[in-house]
């Protein structure tokens, strides 16, 4: 029985971690046009809690890549050459990341559901 609760805990923590990742992806996408915005990423790490292995989204990290220089002389933040610093968000990367997060989320959800089914079919033995 404790095996089931272990796997439920692991799956649930993974669902939370993937949801956090997806949240940061959507923050990145919505700030794609914010000048000076650096894209945020979260690293995943394994933690042990009460002997249960769980996944956790760690501290938010900022992408250190150079900001994109955008040419727009009419922009209030433009320098003498007519450029200003945009964000370093690459929409293609964000969307690919979102896809991967979704895929992992679904896989973990399926695992959660299967564990629940196994446990309830075990309970079913007690009836009758």
């Amino acid at each position: 029985m404790s095996d089931f609760s272990h796997s439920l805990t692991a799956s649930a923590s993974a669902l939370r971690a993937q949801a956090a990742r997806l949240r940061h992806v959507s923050e990145n996408i919505s700030n794609a046009d914010t000048p000076g915005y650096r894209r945020k990423t979260v690293p995943f790490e394994t933690v042990q809690q009460d002997g249960k292995a769980m996944v956790q989204a760690g501290r938010v990290q900022l992408d250190r890549r150079d900001l994109q220089r955008v040419h727009d002389p009419s922009h209030p933040m433009a320098d003498e050459s007519g450029h200003y610093l945009g964000s370093n968000v690459d929409l293609m990367i964000e969307i690919a990341d979102a896809r991967e997060a979704q895929r992992s989320y679904e896989a973990n959800l399926k695992m959660f559901d299967q564990t629940r089914k196994m446990s309830s079919s075990l309970m079913e033995l007690l009836r009758k």
Partner: protein
């Protein structure tokens, strides 16, 4: 059959094995995007069962457990499964884990079905069918 209910013990061992493997697979799946994580697995029920023979019984696998023979205590041995390398050092393949999960579900269902039908036979023989 009525003196030594081996079929129940076997079914119990099989269901326990499925439960534990499910926990390992869920952990692998949860860490599918954790850098540096390597997948783990436990040995197949068949090979583990062949080693212990039909005398499968409850084992004390943790200190808090009552009864059960302690020393022989195999909570089925865990080992590192075949990794499929990702660039970030993660070895989990979601597809493979999915396949194993289906395997586990079938094994668990099978064990429960065996348990249930043996129970039915017992009930019938007692005239309460």
């Amino acid at each position: 059959m009525f003196y030594d209910l081996n079929v129940f013990k076997t079914a119990h061992a099989m269901a326990t094995h499925a439960g534990q493997r499910q926990a390992v697979i869920a952990r692998n799946m949860a860490n599918a995007d954790t850098p540096g994580y390597q997948p783990r697995d436990i040995e197949a029920f068949k090979s583990a069962f062949e080693m212990t023979g039909p005398q499968t019984q409850m084992m004390a696998t943790r200190q808090g457990h009552l009864n059960g023979g302690g020393q022989a205590g195999h909570s089925w041995a865990e080992f590192a499964a075949d990794p499929s390398g990702d660039p970030n050092g993660n070895g989990v393949s979601l597809e493979e884990e999915m396949l194993k999960a289906v395997d586990v579900k079938r094994q668990h269902d099978r064990a429960l079905a065996i348990y249930k039908s043996s129970m039915n036979i017992l009930r019938t023989s007692l005239g309460r069918g």
